[in-house]
């Protein structure tokens, strides 16, 4: 190793420690400042410490469709679940994929677990229902069936939620009609004349009319209730539903086409006609036939009865109008889409065809009381462990223990601030295993000090005075620390990549603290040691410094060998 390089005279090494120390202190201050800037002072707590419910869902291929568990499909499912869970009125719920085929849903305390389970556990319902009447959100009964939300009025809203038009594309070449221009603003006031054939229903019943008038889509809660009611309705019933943004409410006829008949949907940018983003969808045989029929009928209707709503979980995601019958099994929805809104809609449509079903494979509910208790226990265990380590270090290393304690404190500050900051940054949540990892890390961190201290003491036993001992012991200690920390980090990294769930949280903390250990030893302990070595208390080997050469059983000073220059050793020594 580079052991001899530094030797005993290293003016550079002695000039820098102050600066290095200042640097790490600056980092600590910066991190603490970051905490203030974010306004978070405690780490985000996981479900097991804060209380709440956590579900793990496992994706299964639908029969007859192997290999459906793909990243895209899983992400689509996550998007859908997120919508649903957050529809409960909880905003902090989080949904994420875990490994290849699992999705984790964490719902913080205060939510009804039963309700959450229903939301998470049921399969999504996607259906196409013809629109019978539309009105702006709000309870005010509106005699007029709406400004028909045509291209114009839709523009000022976010793209896509206006009523885009669905245009047929019988041929793959796509006879796409430019959305805005083609859609005639129909005579909205025409009475709803009901063409008899079954799928298009007769005029809505009195009762439903009333419900429609009473329907309020302006708040999240009311929308969620409406969606539940609509979702619970039979496919053959007429329902009232809200538009997902709460801008419009709709009175919808029976289900015309089931979402399961959709075989695919994607967002594409129409380059040929410059119609902007649009969503193309494909139906299977049965779907394309019914869709053709329905659209054929709808096309001849006035607005809003020429529209159909794409209803997901009882909520209208989009309600485009139809201009002509769409045969051939593929359709395009155009309108004021931007890329993300087109993608959103495509995802929703695709979910209907998502060949996946989900099972709840793990569910855990932790009451806030137990969570708090576990957090307490974890902190207490950490405190006890830390106290034991401190006692041991002080008893054994005396004055040197101060260095160890300062370093541990430094490491603790870094770990804590990083954990707090990683909450908002990458969604890190401190759970019980992570607490365990942090506690175990106390040992690992302290171990690297011990490795260094023992090295220094060995050097002193060789007869060196403290300053050279500190410098000469370092390169060797450094290597040992690096090698063993690397092994520890490797374990953490492998665990983090390979495993799932709780094990992962543990691995993350362990890896983080191992990295910080290296940082602290290099940037804090070593410079601090160098500085302290100049202090008389340590340099003179005060009995309480932990570096008393006599107690350490140092050899008589090296000089003795100098007396015999003939000794073959000395030339190299000098």
């Amino acid at each position: 190793m580079a052991a001899p390089k530094k030797g005993r005279r290293s003016p550079g090494g002695q000039g820098r420690p102050g600066r290095v120390l200042a640097f790490i202190l600056l980092v600590m201050v910066a991190l603490t400042g970051g905490m203030f800037a974010y306004g978070h002072f405690t780490p985000r707590l996981g479900i097991d410490l804060a209380g709440g419910t956590s579900f793990t869902l496992e994706a299964k291929n639908e029969p007859g469709k192997p290999n459906a568990i793909t990243k895209t499909n899983m992400n689509t499912a996550v998007g859908i679940l997120e919508r649903r869970v957050n529809g409960l009125g909880v905003s902090e719920a989080e949904v994420q994929t875990q490994g290849k085929n699992h999705i984790i849903v964490n719902i913080p305390k205060g939510t009804n677990a039963e309700q959450a389970r229903q939301q998470v556990g049921t399969t999504a319902q996607l259906m196409f229902r013809p629109v019978l009447a539309a009105a702006p959100a709000g309870t005010m009964p509106q005699p007029q069936p709406t400004p028909s939300a045509s291209g114009g009025s839709g523009k000022d809203k976010k793209g896509g939620k206006s009523s885009p038009s669905a245009t047929p594309s019988a041929k793959p070449s796509g006879s796409a009609t430019p959305g805005g221009q083609g859609r005639a603003v129909t005579d909205a006031l025409k009475a709803p004349q009901a063409p008899k054939p079954t799928p298009t229903p007769s005029a809505p019943s009195q009762d439903l009319q009333k419900r429609f008038a009473a329907l309020d889509c302006s708040t999240k809660q009311s929308r969620s209730n409406a969606a539940k009611a609509a979702d619970a309705a039979k496919p053959t019933d007429q329902v009232v539903a809200c538009d997902k943004d709460g801008k419009e409410k709709l009175l919808l006829g029976p289900v015309a086409v089931d979402g399961k008949d959709v075989t695919g949907a994607k967002a594409v940018l129409d380059t040929q006609q410059a119609a902007g983003w649009m969503v193309t969808l494909k139906f299977n045989g049965k779907g394309s036939k019914t869709f053709g029929n329905v659209t054929g009928k709808l096309a001849s209707q006035p607005d809003p009865q020429n529209r159909f709503a794409i209803v997901l979980d009882g909520e209208s995601v989009s309600a485009p109008s139809v201009r002509q019958a769409i045969d051939g099994g593929s359709a395009q929805i155009t309108g004021n889409f931007d890329q993300s809104s087109a993608n959103d809609l495509a995802n929703v449509l695709a979910y209907g065809s998502l060949p996946l079903s989900f099972d709840i494979v793990d569910e855990s509910t932790v009451s806030a009381a137990l969570g708090g208790e576990q957090l307490h226990a974890g902190l207490l265990a950490g405190a006890i462990g830390l106290a034991l380590v401190v006692v041991y270090l002080v008893a054994y290393y005396r004055g040197l223990a101060l260095v160890a304690l300062a370093s541990l404190a430094c490491s603790a500050i870094l770990t804590y601030t990083l954990m707090v900051l990683l909450g908002p940054a990458i969604g890190f949540a401190l759970n019980l295993p992570a607490v365990c990892g942090a506690i175990v890390a106390i040992g690992i961190t302290a171990d690297s000090f011990i490795v260094y201290f023992e090295r220094i003491r060995d050097e002193i036993r060789e007869g060196r005075t403290l300053r050279p001992a500190v410098e000469r012991g370092w390169p060797r200690a450094r290597r040992t620390i690096l090698v063993s920390d690397f092994v520890s980090f490797l374990a953490a990294a492998v665990l983090f990549v390979v495993t799932v769930g709780k094990v992962q949280g543990f691995a993350f903390t362990l890896g983080l603290t191992t990295l910080l250990d290296v940082v602290v030893v290099f940037l804090f302990t070593k410079p601090l040691m160098t500085i302290l070595a100049r202090r008389k208390f340590f340099a003179s080997g005060h009995p309480w410094s932990g570096l008393d050469p006599k107690r350490l059983g140092a050899r008589p000073p090296l000089r003795s060998s100098r007396r015999r220059p003939s000794a073959s050793t000395d030339p190299k020594e000098a």
Partner: protein, 375 residues
């Protein structure tokens, strides 16, 4: 403590020491015995897998006056499976039912809530489908495998393949013992246990690596001298870093002990307890194996190396010569006072040994010199 420090110094200089390498057969024997016991225990009793692996449910109730028996009956009636009920601190109950379907778990939860007269929300529930448990276990095994391969590669690069092999054997040894203890005592294996077990991987190796690092350093330029065989150097290096090994192990165990104490004594059961128990057993085994197993193994592998064989031959030849020469003096003394025989052929190696930064024979060399000088 100063006495400990002095002991450390004497260990460091090799004035006292235990012949770990020489007496390795004893320790191998002990380890093999323990390992066999562990394996037999594993084969006969098997592991008590927690519900996380079998599927089932654990309910933790709030403080209740309902007796454990009553809760057990309720849970069994509702679920149709045997329930295990534990009393926890603070009048809480922990009801565990294994091999339950998720559907049944819910009905059980509701039944319990009714019996206890609390809302189902107040009952902490952990419901696990069997497939999820399999998933966790499989991933853990995969992780274990990948880690072992990587670490062996790394150690083979950072040190050498013999050390990597010895470290691997020591690791397997630690894991077997830990798992064996679980089988024999019948502790429940939970994801917490798995976490603990996987951490042992890193930690047991940490220990071994610290020892190996000292060994690597002290065996540098070994072939250039004829005083010591590899085994002797290994033993010396082990002894001189003994204090360090003991300290690192103690300091690593102390926080875990804190966890175990709190987890076991305060919470009764749960993740903290499971992790720390596995860690405690594993770390102890790890400390033992890095000293008593790993290093002697390295020495044994090394001694098979032709170079080292040749070295051992030279060393023995030299010692025999010395013994013959110094027949009149105490022959048993040669181990401690080897430098005595500063015969002509000793000079070249001494030259190599001399620089103090050559740790190979640092302690010895230094001592030898000073003694020589005193004469």
């Amino acid at each position: 403590m100063s006495r400990l420090g002095a002991l450390g110094a004497r260990l460091y200089r090799g004035e006292v020491g235990y012949d770990f390498v020489g007496k390795r057969k004893i320790w191998y024997g002990i380890s093999i015995l323990i390992t066999i016991t562990a394996i037999v225990g594993l084969a006969v009793r098997g592991l008590n897998m927690g519900i996380e692996f079998k599927g089932g449910a654990v309910f933790t109730t709030p403080k209740t006056s309902v007796s454990a028996d009553a809760a057990k009956r309720t849970a069994e009636d509702a679920s149709g499976h045997t329930a295990i009920v534990q009393k926890l601190g603070g009048g809480k109950l922990r009801v565990q039912v294994s091999e339950l379907t998720t559907q049944k778990s819910r009905t059980t939860q509701q039944a319990l809530a009714k019996k206890l007269d609390v809302s189902p929300n107040k009952i902490n529930t952990d419901i696990v489908g069997p497939s999820w448990g399999d998933e966790i276990a499989n991933k853990a095994w995969t992780g274990l495998g990948i880690f072992m391969v990587l670490v062996v590669i790394y150690l083979a690069i950072a040190f050498e393949w013999r050390m990597a092999l010895a470290a691997l054997i020591a690791l397997v040894h630690d894991l077997t013992i830990t798992v064996g203890v679980y089988a024999l005592v019948g502790f429940e294996v939970t994801p917490g246990t798995v976490i603990g077990l996987l951490t042992i991987l890193g930690y047991s190796l940490y220990d071994t690596v610290v020892v190996f690092d000292g060994l690597k350093e002290s065996s540098k330029d070994l072939t250039k001298q004829t005083r010591w065989t590899y085994s002797e150097i290994a033993n010396r290096s082990l002894n001189s870093t003994l204090v360090r090994s003991i300290n690192t192990t103690v300091v690593a165990l102390l926080p875990v002990a804190g966890l175990l104490f709190i987890g076991g004594g305060f919470l009764g059961a749960g993740m903290l307890n499971d992790i720390s128990l596995a860690l405690f057993v594993g770390l102890t085994a790890g400390a033992y194996s890095s000293i008593f197993i790993a290093t002697p193994l390295v020495a044994e592998f090394k001694e098979r190396d032709p170079q080292m064989k040749a070295l051992a031959k030279r060393v023995h030849a030299r010692r025999a010569a010395q013994a013959a020469k110094a027949d009149s003096t105490d022959p048993a003394d040669h181990e401690a006072d080897a430098p005595e025989g500063e015969g002509p052929e000793d000079t070249p190696p001494a030259g190599v040994v001399g620089p103090r930064r050559q740790p190979a024979t640092r302690g010895r060399g230094g001592r030898g010199r000073t003694q020589g000088k005193r004469r």
